[in-house]
Amino acid sequence: MPNAYWRSLKEREAEELQPPKSETVPTQGEIPSGPGRRGFLKAAGFSFASAWLAACSRAPEQKALPFLEEPEGIIPGKSYWYASTCAACPAACGLLVKTRDGRPIKLEGNPGHPLSQGGLCAVGQASILGLYDSRRLKGPVAAGKSATWEEVDRELGRKLEAVRGQGGAVRLLTGTVHSPTELAVIRRFLAQFKDGRHVQYDALSCSAILDAHERTFGVRVLPRYRFDQADVVVGFDADFLGTWISPVEFTAGYSSGRKPEFLRFCYHIQAESRMSLTGTKADRRIPVSPAGMASLMAEVAAAVEGGAAAGEAGEIAGRLLQAKGRSLVVCGSQDTALQMIANTINHALGNYGQTLDIVHPSRQRLGNDRELELLLRELEAGKVRVLLVAGANPVFELPGGEAVKRAEVVVSFSERPDETAEASHYVCPAPHALESWGDAEPAAGLVTIRQPAVRPLGGARPFVETLAAWTGRPQAAYELVRTTWREEIHPRQRGQADFETFWEQALQRGYAETGSSSPAARAFARPDLKRPAGAPDLELVLYPTPAMLDGRHAYNPWLHELPDPVTKVTWDNYVSLAPGAAARLGIADGDMVRVESGGRAMELPALLQPGQNERTIAVALGYGSLLSRRFADLGPNWIDRAPTVGETGLVGVNAAPWLRFTEGTLRFESAGVTVTKTGKRRPLACTQQHHTLSVPAHLAPSPREPRPIVQETTVARWNGERLRQQPLEPDRPELWPPDHTYGPHRWAMVVDLNACTGCSACVVACQVENNIPVVGRDEVVRKREMHWIRVDRYYSGPVENPQVAHQPMFCQQCEHAPCETVCPVLATVHSAEGLNQQVYNRCVGTRYCANNCPYKTRRFNWFAYARKDALANLVLNPDVTVRSRGVMEKCTFCVQRIQEAKIEAKRRGEPVQDGEILTACQQSCPAQAIYFGNLNQKGAKAAQMMTSARRYRVLEEINVRPSVGYLKIVRHESAAGGEKQHG
C-alpha cells in the first residue's frame, strides 16, 4: 500500500476526518439562466456573416528585409550556439547561448563545463529576460538626469583628480569578483590613490566559512565541496541544493552519488531550522533551531573525535565515522564558531583533500563581512570621499546600507534604477552579461570566458571599460580580457604554447583549465570548541529562495511567478511558522502577522510550514525591492482584477534590515522576536492545491485509498529487484482497439524521482523555450498559472517532520488520451510518433480536454496575456507559436526540437541519434533526472530506463498508457513500511 501523501495541511485534515460519504452526486446548483440555444444559434449566424465580410479582405502586406552583405557562416533561420559564462550569480556556471537571427533566445548549461556539467538553475535560465528589459538604464545618469558618457567621464575625472591630489578614501564596494580581468582593472584603478581599497561582500554571505578556514588553516579560502565524492553528507542549515554557494554544481555532484543503478547511494542527514529544498531530499532530517544547532554540532564534533554521544548527535557521528574520508559536513551558519566546529569534524574524519578541496578552492564567495562592517563605519563617520558600487545593491541588501549616501561622491554601476542607483550621484550602467566581454574564475584553476551574443541594446558601458577610462587608459572590454588572458592566464597553463590557439580553444569550449597558485594552507590548528548557550525564545531566520536569491533579479517576472519549490507560493514573501507554533499563537495560513524585535517591525502574511522547527520563524530575503515596482500593471486588465503588487506598490517586504553584524559576520538569525496577529488577511498565491491529482474528499470511495501517484521503495527492497526488467507495455486488458501504429520513432520520457530535487529549473527552462506567458498574482490565485511543467510536492508522515517527494508533472502524452476523445473539433489528436498533439489554430476553447485530463496538465489562455513590450518580445522563441486567447495549451515534448533534429538528420541522411534531442527541461536539469528518447530505438537511454524495475506510470490503473515513466524514489528507510522512522 502506498504512503498516505498530502500536499497541504488542509488536505491532511480532510484525510483524517473523513466526512460521511453522500449517496448522490453533489448538486451543482441551478443551471444559470441566460441566452438559450436559440440565442446562441442567432449569434452564431451573425458571427458567420461577419466572418464572410472579413473574408473579402487580403491579409496585410508583409515585408522581408534580407542582409545587404550577409556575414559569412550566418544563415537566417538557423540557430547558433556560443559558449559563455552565466552572470546571474557568482557561481558562474557554464552556458551555451542559443542565438537566432542575431539575438540570444535561450540559455542552456554547457555540458562540458567542469562545475555545472550541463545544468543551469532557474535563475540562470531566467536571466536572459534581463537582456530585453525595456526599463534598463540606457545611458549614464548624473544627479538624477541622463547624461552622456563624455560628460560623466569629464566630471568624475575632475573629482577623482582632486582626490588623487588631496588624498582621501576611495572605496570600491562590489559583490564577489573572481574575474581575473575585473580584478586586474580594479587593481590598476585603485593604485592611483593613496587610500584606495576594494571591499567585497555577498548579500548571501559565506564570510564565516572563509574566516573559520583562516583561523584553522591559516588561509582565507572557501573550500571546493565535492559532493560527488561523498558517501555521507551532513548539512547543518546549508541549503546546498537550492541556494547555497553553487547549487547547480552541488546538485550535479550530489545526484551522481545517489544513483541506485550504480549501487552508490550516499546517505544525507540534514539538520535545519526551516524546511529547505535540501532538507526535502534528506534521508534523515532533524528540525533544529539555530540556537540548538551549536550544541548539536559541538556534540557531533566531540563524538567524532572519540567521545560518546547519544541521540541525534550520536546518530550523525555514527554515520560519519563509518565513512571516514568519504563524508562531507557542510554548515550554512554565519557563526564562525560553528564553522570551526564543522572544520574540526571534517578534519577529524580526514575529509580535507578528499571531499573538501582547499588546494584548489572555490572562489564563488569571496566577501569579507569584517571589511564590509568597517566600510559601513567609515561611511557613517563620513570618512569616505568616493564610493563606487558595482554588482551590488547595498542600500537594499544590508542593514544600515543607507550609509552609502554619506560618501562625498557615490557612483553606482547598476543595470537598473535600484535602491543604490537612486542613492547615487552618478549611475554608470553596465550592460547585460550577454552584451559584453568578460571572464570568471569560479574555482582556482578554472577560468571561463564570457562572450557577448548580441550588440549592446542600450548605451551602457562595461564596468571594466569605465574603470579603465578613469584610470587614464581607455580600452575596449575585449582588449582588456585578451590582455589579461595573454599576460596572466596563458602563462599559468602548460597545454598550449601559442596564445592564439589557447584563446580560440577556450573561447570555443567556454573555459580553460589552468594551474593556480593558491597560498598553501598550514596544518590544522584545532580551535577551542566553546559551546554557545542556546536562546530559548522565538528566533527569526532569514533565508534566500531558489528563485529570488538576494533580490538582484527582482525585476524578473518569471522568477516571481515560479512557485517556491517547497511552499509553492508565488509573488510574495511570508512568515513561515511551524503548524504547532501557529496553533499556539492562533495564526492561520494567510493571516497578516507582525514580527517585532528591538524596535523593528514588519508585517507579512503567515504560512504554515510542516517540518519547520517550532521555535523558528523564517522570512525570505530579496523581496520588497524597488525593481518590483514595475509589476503594478502586470496581469490581464479586466473588471475583476487585483494588483500583483502589495499595498506598498512592491512585491513582498524587504527583510534585509533584520540582518545584523555580530562578531564580524553578517548573521541571518535574530533571537527574541515576537509574532502577533494583526487581524488582517492576505491569502497567498499558492499553487500547491491547484491541479491536484488526488480525489476530492467528498467524492472519494470509503475507505479512502491513497492513489499511487508517488511511489517509493527502500534500498533493501531495491537491491532485491534491481536486476529485474519490466516489460515496456502494461499487460492490462484494453477496450480500445490497438489503432496506433508507430513508425521508427516513438517518443517517451522517464523522470527519475530519486534524482529530482524539485529545484524548478525545468519550469523556467520550459517557460523560456515555449513562450509561456506570465499571468500575475491575481490570476495565479484563480488557478490560472500557465506553466506547462509543475513540480508537485507531496508530504508524508508526521506534520512535525514529514518526508517530502517532488514530482515534475506535465502532459503524459497518453496513448489512450482522454483529452483526445472529448475534443469536438479534433484539436488534440495522436501522432504517429506517440505525441499527443495540441493544434492551437484548430482549438476553439471548449476546455473539455482539460476537464477530462487525469493529470491536470492542460493550461487555458483565459486572456491574451500582454505582449505589448516590443523589446521583451524579442526573447520569444520563433519556433513556437504564441498562443492567443481562448486556446488550450500543454507540454508538447518540445516538438519543435524533435522536428529540427529529425529534419537535420534527414538532411544528413542518417537516423536521429539517441541524445540528439534534448527537451528544454531535460537540458537544464542539474540532477539529470529527465531522460527523453525514442522507445523504438535499441539501446536508447530512455528505453532502457523504461524497463527498470523502479519504473512506474502515474495512475496506471486508469490505463490511459502514458508515454512518461517515473522512477521510484529510493529511501534508506520508508515512512510507511513499518520501519523505524526518524530516530
Binding site: L68, E69, I903
Partner: protein, 217 residues
C-alpha cells in the same frame, strides 16, 4: 421587441452576404488565401530573365533552402557577384557601345533604372565603391508566399527530399513578376504529402508525415 432586432440584424447580415456572394463570387477567398497575389516589388526583378532565359539555378540565389528553414531572399552581395560588371541589359550596353563607336568617343557607363536602385541600397558610387557619405539601406521586398504564424514550413525538409521549387512556387522561371500560384491552404499541403507518401518523389520512396505536429507547434 428584442427578438425583432435580432431578426432584422440577421436579415441585413444575410442580405449583405448574398450581395457579396453575388458581386465577388469570382474573386472570393477564404481569409488568408492569397492565391494570385502579385504585388509590385521595390526593384522590378525578373525571374523570367534570370531563372528562365539565363537559367541560373534557384539555389544560386536562394542558397539557404538546403540548410535552413527559410530559403531566404538573397542578400545584395549575391546580386553584386554579377551586377558589379553587368550594369544594364545587353541591348542597352550594345546600343551605347555602337553610339560610342559612331560618335568616336569612349563608351559611357550605362546603368539601368532598376539596378540603380540596387546600387543605391548598397550606397555605391559610380566606380562601384562604397560611398561613405551615404547610408546603405536594406531592400524591403514584399513577401508573396506567406504562411500563417502557426505554420512551420521548412525548406530544408522539402528541398532535400527532392521536391522541386515549382511544386509550391509555380513556374517562377516564366514570371516577369512573381505571383502566388497554388493557394497554399492546408488541404493543398496535405494532399501533396499523401501523394508523395503513395508515389514517392522522383522514384524515391518518402514518408511525408501528415501529423499535425509536422507543421503546427
Amino acid at each position: 421587441m428584442k427578438s425583432g432586432i435580432v431578426t432584422i440584424t440577421l436579415a441585413v447580415g444575410l442580405a449583405c452576404s448574398l450581395w457579396l456572394l453575388f458581386v465577388r463570387a469570382g474573386t472570393f477567398h477564404l481569409p488568408s488565401n492569397q492565391q494570385g497575389y502579385e504585388p509590385a516589388q521595390p526593384i522590378a526583378y525578373s525571374h523570367r530573365l534570370h531563372a528562365g532565359e539565363l537559367q541560373i539555378a534557384c539555389q544560386y540565389c536562394h542558397f539557404a533552402a538546403e540548410t535552413s528553414r527559410h530559403a531566404g531572399i538573397p542578400p545584395a552581395n549575391v546580386c553584386m557577384n554579377c551586377h558589379r560588371l553587368v550594369t544594364s541589359t545587353l541591348g542597352a550596353l550594345r546600343a551605347e557601345d555602337e553610339a560610342a563607336t559612331r560618335e568616336n568617343r569612349k563608351a559611357r557607363q550605362v546603368i539601368s533604372t532598376e539596378l540603380r536602385k540596387l546600387y543605391d541600397a548598397l550606397a555605391l558610387d559610380a566606380k562601384m565603391q562604397r560611398d561613405p557619405q551615404r547610408e546603405p539601406r536594406p531592400i524591403a521586398w514584399t513577401k508573396i508566399h506567406n504562411l500563417p504564424d502557426f505554420v512551420y514550413f521548412d525548406h530544408r525538409a522539402h528541398v532535400n527530399a527532392g521536391v522541386i521549387c515549382q511544386t509550391c512556387h509555380g513556374p517562377v522561371e516564366t514570371m516577369q513578376r512573381v505571383q502566388q500560384v497554388p493557394d497554399l491552404s492546408m488541404g493543398w499541403c496535405v494532399n501533396c504529402h499523401r501523394d508523395a507518401t503513395r508515389t514517392g518523389i522522383g522514384g524515391k520512396p518518402v514518408q511525408a508525415s501528415t501529423d499535425c505536429s509536422t507543421c503546427h507547434y
